[in-house]
Structures are given as structure tokens and as C-alpha cells.
Symmetry: C2
Subunit: 324 residues, 2 copies
């Protein structure tokens, strides 16, 4: 089944989640509704809701219950993006003006806080303490991941392991628990929710690596922002770390990164991007992403053969093949 | 009983809460521990824990249970302060360097996010969904209050009602639920937790009004920051609103506020502060604070006559009398 068909088949449930997200962030304070709905309208793949819904097929599927998990997960992801944009000083995301650019940093910060808080009110409707524990514990990890990212800006001496640890917190965890909580919320057996967690974790890792590849190899049109943004802000990603291991490239690349750093991110990163593209870093990072996808597919194996299992596998395969 | 004696009598329980707060924010990421512990060490009145503990005396007092309420409430308050300091561009708080000044705005933002998230993990140990609901709902209101404050910066046309609505969200609510949740966590009857909510709400309103008075009438030494800070950042408080109602003062005060606004908060607010001090705005605001204290004391009346009732009354009376 193609991905578009999958989305089409889930359309009405995804729309219900979209409506619930809009209702959740609508406030009696117009500015908060405006900023929050601006974010919602910018769209996105709604990956977390898709995973929650598919995971819910392994238990007693109930849209009403799954909504209470999918909405907070996607809102928490959105709140992180708003705060990220403040940090990254990003003017556009997904081709749309960011909240910090359309309004200002203060408003972006409190919009993020507000969306976080609203997300949590939704999940309190579910009287399953385990879900609250997993969710709040994961937000802590996401925050630590964000802080690690700041710490590691322009750190060209960091290890691949360090990079992987950071994206685990920053991205993979929230996708892992999307799968896990969809199963827990619908009372699927623990071995199933655990397998889905492993699936989500591995897909999430592959997804972030591919995202980082896109930032280097994608066109501005395809990725909705100028390529090389990561390098400009000092975010040293996997392909760059691999490129730095290449003797013929290392010194020149270090020089380029140093000059970006010295210019406070104002200088052009295209020379650095070109160097990384010419290195084996791209291929190596692609292979790493593929290994994670293979692990994700293996995690699915013990699950019952229902259509959702095939859907999850299709998504995993797609993640590794996002084009640039 | 004097307030110092009350703190002394609660010392070991408050210390247990202090230790739990420190343990909660300690992270395997050194920078997060440093920023969070820096905030903790700056101290504070720990008003929310005090209220939680005293409210717990009306139920089956258990320090272990009450900790799980007091720690998140105080941490949420701290997280708000860190984000406030980013917005206010404040360099000191309680006489100490702020996180945004000692580190930077990005680090302050994620420290706040991290502390929020950690606070919520603590409360998930309590398997009482009602507590989660009240807590997360209140954080939403606090965020709305913060945003209202930004919206209302330099708005000299705002009503007293508008001001009261804003401080209700920004301050009073968290104090109200400190009292309420202390009672709920220890299984006190609903009429008691409701009465304690009303008590806390009214004390909280009086507290914020007094705080706003202090910013105008206190010495730099007493308040740990230069007086007139609120006006400099455009925060129009109750005494100022009342002063603006005074014909003899109105035009000059409007002129001063206008010039602070035009200077982007860099100009001196001492002329404006002097005008407000010379107006009836101080007296009027004091009377408003006293009315809230009177209401707080009335809310206590139906409660059983245990020592905690007298302690709460003492605190309420003290709040109205903070000197400047």
C-alpha cells in the first residue's frame, strides 16, 4: 500500500485528531489561539498521530481513547518546534513564517509553554497513571536532548555515539512512545506495546538521520528552508561527523565550520555543504539509517499479522527513502 | 505565632521538600543540574510548599504524599520565573544573577522547559487523576496569564478588573491550588479543600498586589532589584492604575510612562515611581490587598480549629503587612 493510500484510509480519524488539536489550543485569549492555530495550519506529516492510531489497532481500537494520546504527543512535538525556532532564530519552517518571526521571541516562548500545558490537560482525561508517567518522563528526555544540542553546537570533536544519544532524546523517543502509548491506551498486551516501542525508536532514529541528510542534500523547495541550516547554527550531524573522519576532507571542512562559527552563523554554509556532499559521509549516514530501518522491521516480526503491521512496515521503508 | 517560629516548626518537613526538589532537578547533563540548582540555591519563601504542608494537616498528613504535590508546585513556580526573566530581560532576581544572565536566553528557556517537565514527573507518582487535572489546568492558566501580561504591557487604558484577572492567573491560582491539593492529596473532605482553595486564592491576590506595591515603594536592598522595574518593562500594576484615576497626576504620569515606552525601557522610571508614590494609588492598592486578606480569613472560618488554621491566618495577616 502506498503511503498516500494509507493516509487516505486513515483520513477521517486523522481529521478528528486535527479537530481535537485545534479545539485544544483554542483559548479565550485571541493571541494564543492565533499563534497556536498558525502552527497547526502549517501542517506537517502528523507522524505521531499516525503511529498512535496504527498501534491502537493491536488493542481494542477506540478513536476517543487514542485521541487523548495522539493529540498531546503531536502538540508536545509542536511546542518543541516553537521553542526550537526561538533558539535557532529560524524565520521559516515548512515554508511558513515561524511564530518568533511573525510575532516575537517572548510570544513564541509562552506559546510553546501554553501548548505544552494544554497537551498535558488532554492526557489527564485518561485515568491510566502509566501513560502519564511515560509521557512526562519523555518530555524530560526531550528537554535534555534540546539542551545537549546547544551544548554540542560547533563541537567537531563529538563522537558518533554522542550524536546518536542526542537524536534518541530529541526525536526517537517521542516516536517510540507514540507507538507504545497507542498500544497501552487500547489495552494491548505488554509484549506488543514493547515491540511497538522498539519499532518506533528505530524508525525515529532513521527518521532523524534522514532529516539531517535532507538538510545537507535537499533543495530549498523540498525542505522548506535553505539547505545547510544545521551547519549554520552549529548543529553537527551524522554525515558531517563521518565526513570529518575522511583525511582528504577533514582540514578543509574544519576550516569552513570554524569560519561559520566565527561569523556567528551569518556566513554561508554552502562550501561546507559541498564538502560533505562530496564525502563518503552521505553514504555512511544513509547506511546507518537503513540499519535502523532493518531493526525497526525486525521489531515488527513477532506482532500479529493485521493490516496495521504492514502499514507500519510501509512507513518504515518510506522513511529511509525520503528523496533529496 | 510569629512567622519565623512557624518556619522553624516546619523546618524538617520543608528541608525534606528542599532535598526532593534538588534530587528532582539533578540531571546527568551537568549544565541542567547547574542552572536548576543555581535557581534552587537562590532560595525563596517556599510559600507553595508551606501552604501544601499546612493544608495537609486537615487530612491524613503524610509528608511522603505531600512532597509529591509541594515539589511540583514550587518547581512549576520556579520554571515560570526562569521564563519570566527571559521576557523581562532581568539580570538579577532575589539579588542573584538570573539564569539568562549567568548563561543565556536559550539555556534559560530549556532550563524552564526541563523544570516544568521534571515537576510533572513527580506528580505522576500520585495515582489521583484529579490532582493531575487540577495541576495541568492551572499551568495552562498561568501561561495565559503570562501572555496577558505581555499583551497588556504599557496599556494605560486597561481596567482594574483586567489587572485583577491577570494576577489571578499569574499568581493567585497556583497558591490557591497549593492549598487545595494539599487537602486533596491527604483525603480531606471536599468542603475543606474548597475552603482552602478560596483561602489560597485570596491570599494569592493580596500577595501579588503587595508585591506590586513593593516594586514601587520598596528599597533596592529590600526587594533585591531596582524599584520601578515593573514600570520599566511596561507592567502597569494596581497602584499605577489607581494613580492614573487621579486628575492632578494623570497627565504627568501618562507622559512619564510614554517616555519609558519610547525609550524601550532603558529610561529611568524614578519620576513615574515618585508620582505614583505621591498619589492615592498606594493607599487604594493597600486597601484592596487588605480586602482580599479579610476574605481569605473568612474562608478559613468553617475549618476545624487545629493549629494549622491559626498558622494559615498568621501567614495571611503577614502577607498584607510586608514592609517597604
Amino acid at each position: 500500500m502506498k503511503l498516500m493510500q494509507l493516509y487516505a484510509s486513515m483520513k477521517s480519524d486523522l481529521q478528528a485528531i486535527e479537530d481535537e488539536m485545534a479545539a485544544t489550543v483554542t483559548s479565550d485569549l485571541p493571541i494564543l489561539s492565533e499563534t497556536s492555530l498558525h502552527l497547526l495550519k502549517a501542517g506537517g506529516k502528523r507522524m505521531r498521530p499516525v503511529f498512535v492510531l496504527l498501534a491502537g489497532k493491536f488493542g481494542s481500537y477506540s478513536l476517543n481513547t487514542l485521541k487523548k494520546v495522539a493529540v498531546p504527543l503531536e502538540l508536545i512535538h509542536m511546542a518543541t518546534l516553537v521553542h526550537d525556532d526561538v533558539i535557532d532564530d529560524a524565520d521559516t519552517r515548512r515554508g511558513q513564517l515561524t511564530v518568533k518571526s511573525k510575532w516575537d521571541n517572548r510570544i513564541a516562548m509562552f506559546t510553546g509553554d501554553y501548548i505544552y500545558a494544554k497537551a498535558l490537560t488532554v492526557v489527564t482525561d485518561l485515568e491510566k497513571p502509566r501513560i502519564h508517567q511515560i509521557l512526562s518522563g519523555s518530555i524530560v528526555q526531550v528537554c535534555i536532548g534540546e539542551m545537549e544540542q546547544i551544548r554540542d553546537f560547533f563541537n567537531v570533536g563529538q563522537s558518533v555515539r554522542n550524536y546518536l544519544k542526542r537524536i534518541r532524546r530529541k526525536t526517537a523517543l517521542l516516536i517510540a512512545i507514540s507507538c507504545q502509548l497507542g498500544a497501552i491506551a487500547t489495552d494491548a498486551p505488554v509484549r506488543i506495546s514493547n515491540a511497538l516501542y522498539r519499532f518506533g525508536y528505530n524508525v525515529g532514529m532513521a527518521f532523524q538521520i534522514t532529516d539531517d541528510l535532507l538538510d545537507l542534500c535537499g533543495s530549498e523547495k523540498a525542505i522548506g528552508k535553505p539547505p545547510g541550516s544545521d551547519l549554520r547554527q552549529g548543529n553537527i550531524t551524522l554525515p558531517v561527523l563521518y565526513a570529518l573522519q575522511e583525511q582528504a576532507i577533514r582540514e578543509r571542512l574544519l576550516g569552513e565550520i570554524e569560519s561559520i562559527k566565527a561569523s556567528d552563523g551569518r556566513s554561508d554554509s554552502s562550501a561546507a555543504v559541498k564538502l560533505v556532499r562530496s564525502s563518503k559521509g552521505i553514504k555512511d549516514a544513509e547506511q546507518m539509517a537503513e540499519r535502523y530501518i532493518a531493526k525497526a522491521l525486525r521489531a515488527l516480526e513477532p506482532l500479529p499479522n493485521i493490516p496495521a503491521k504492514r502499514n507500519l512496515a510501509d512507513i518504515a521503508r518510506f522513511v529511509a527513502k525520503r528523496s533529496y
